[in-house]
Symmetry: C2
Subunit: 260 residues, 2 copies
DNA sequence: GTTCAGATTTGAACGCGTTCAAAATGAAGC
DNA sequence: GCTTCATTTTGAACGCGTTCAAATCTGAAC
């Protein structure tokens, strides 16, 4: 029914009497309970049956409501599934937190973050591809670059900021201020590899971490060398232009490689 | 820009008595004609109606066959759409060819390749997201890392090899042998940005090319400096391990390809 | 208690990609 | 001509995500 070039798909026009699709606030207690119950059921079914097995009909049936009710609270299956990402991020944070306590080197901190990321997501590797598929769609609310996933994305970047800040780095380098963005992008690339990784236990992904982390960190340390100034300086200016000053109001934002 | 009656460009040979889903060879003349006709119609409808508007039913109707016939020749809509990529690549090659004739600098050659890439794909930017969505799925035959898209991927990498070879580069650097792989990856990142780019005419993507190409090329030239050896050498060794020995047939950055 | 305008819930229905048993066609031997 | 067999074609049917007009419920105002 939709003509091409459809308008922006709204996402969140959170006026006070907005439809309950976006968040839990502004709902009657009963409605909030129904919404939460549907979401819980959806995540459970997703765990049990995978992405394709978790049909809207099944979720609704298990939750004891009609399919229409699920769509009353969540604009689409994708929105419903987005809770999955948030949960994954929370689990990941809980897992890395202790490992980042001690003030270790950047190498150790980076490797710890990525390894725990893989470990946390391992149970869902089987259908990570299906998830990534919808996440890659620029129009999907699950896209790591979409407005809808902004909070999750920011939290993820904040993690990398703490990774950088906690490492004993010479704060002299102007790279320091943007490093967490670059590491976030690096993480995206690793996740992209992990998603495609069919080796047993995704062992190749772990190996890729072990082999790339030292290179990345060596590069970071080298960046302050004057020889690299003609590369580092314009690169930082570039980031300033493209990521720095919140560009357009529109959804399109920055490049990258995969979801969180 | 509108070659509706192009030859299928199916130069690659499939196993002789393979099922008709894979390629055009090994079919009775009539069957081959039917297959080609369905493919042509599909690409035309795709151009006219976009990805979502090009339903299998519509394609079949316009081709004058039943939907089942389309599925007899093509395992899925994705496989059918794959011809689109091949056509795009052919158009791109025709567009860059002349620009690469003169032996210009690496900067010019790289920028020319990417700009023509964007120009060639511009008419389809509207539904590139929908295409990319299915392409991102590791299980999809449209994934740039999948076995099904191996030929197209290899051709694309060959283009970057010619970009590197044609530039007046000091062949001394061991980076030289792997550079085309890295540039292919760089291209992937740029395309990802382009897909998400909502600026008018994708002008930001062009700007991103103009600003990143000099940085990339400066980095390439710097790579032979001894100071960077501790980064370049392990990086190349890493590529050797992950892309080099080709654990399976196609030499992508993908690990083992046995389907789960 | 009655009314009535929301908020909430329902489930049949739509169009999609895909499947598959059955029908139609073609080729080869008689 | 007829029979036999594989190749090709068909279209109804399935399950999916999604939509929506109608039904039901809720609670404030009377």
């Amino acid at each position: 029914m939709k003509p091409p070039d459809d308008p922006p798909a709204d996402s969140r026009a959170e006026t006070p009497e907005a439809p309950p699709g976006a968040s839990a606030s502004g709902l009657s207690p009963k409605a909030a309970r129904t919404r939460a119950h549907i979401l819980e059921t959806a995540l459970r079914v997703l765990r049990e049956r995978g992405y394709e097995g978790a049909t809207m009909r099944l979720i609704a049936e298990e939750a004891g409501v009609a399919v229409g009710s699920a769509y009353y609270y969540f604009p689409s299956k994708d929105h419903l599934i987005q809770g999955f990402y948030a949960q994954l991020h929370v689990d990941h944070l809980a897992a890395v937190g202790p490992l980042l306590e001690g003030s270790k080197s950047l190498d150790e901190r980076l490797a710890a973050v990525m390894r725990t990321k893989f470990e946390t997501a391992a149970p869902y590797h089987g259908f990570s591809g299906a998830l990534f598929k919808t996440a890659a769609d620029p129009d999907s609310p699950l896209s790591p670059f979409s407005a809808d996933s902004g909070p999750t994305r920011d939290e993820s970047k904040a993690l990398f900021r703490s990774v950088v800040d906690g490492a004993g780095l010479r704060k002299r380098s102007p790279l320091h201020a943007k490093l967490h963005e670059l590491l976030w992008l690096y993480q995206m690339g690793l996740i992209l590899y992990w998603i495609h990784d069919r080796s047993p236990g995704q062992e190749r992904s772990y190996r890729l971490v072990d082999r790339t982390v030292p290179i990345v960190c060596r590069l970071v340390r080298l960046a302050s060398n004057p020889l690299l100034t003609p590369v580092v300086k314009p690169a930082l200016a570039l980031m300033e232009e493209f990521c720095g000053p919140a560009p357009r109001a529109h959804g399109g934002s920055e490049p990258g490689t995969s979801p969180s």
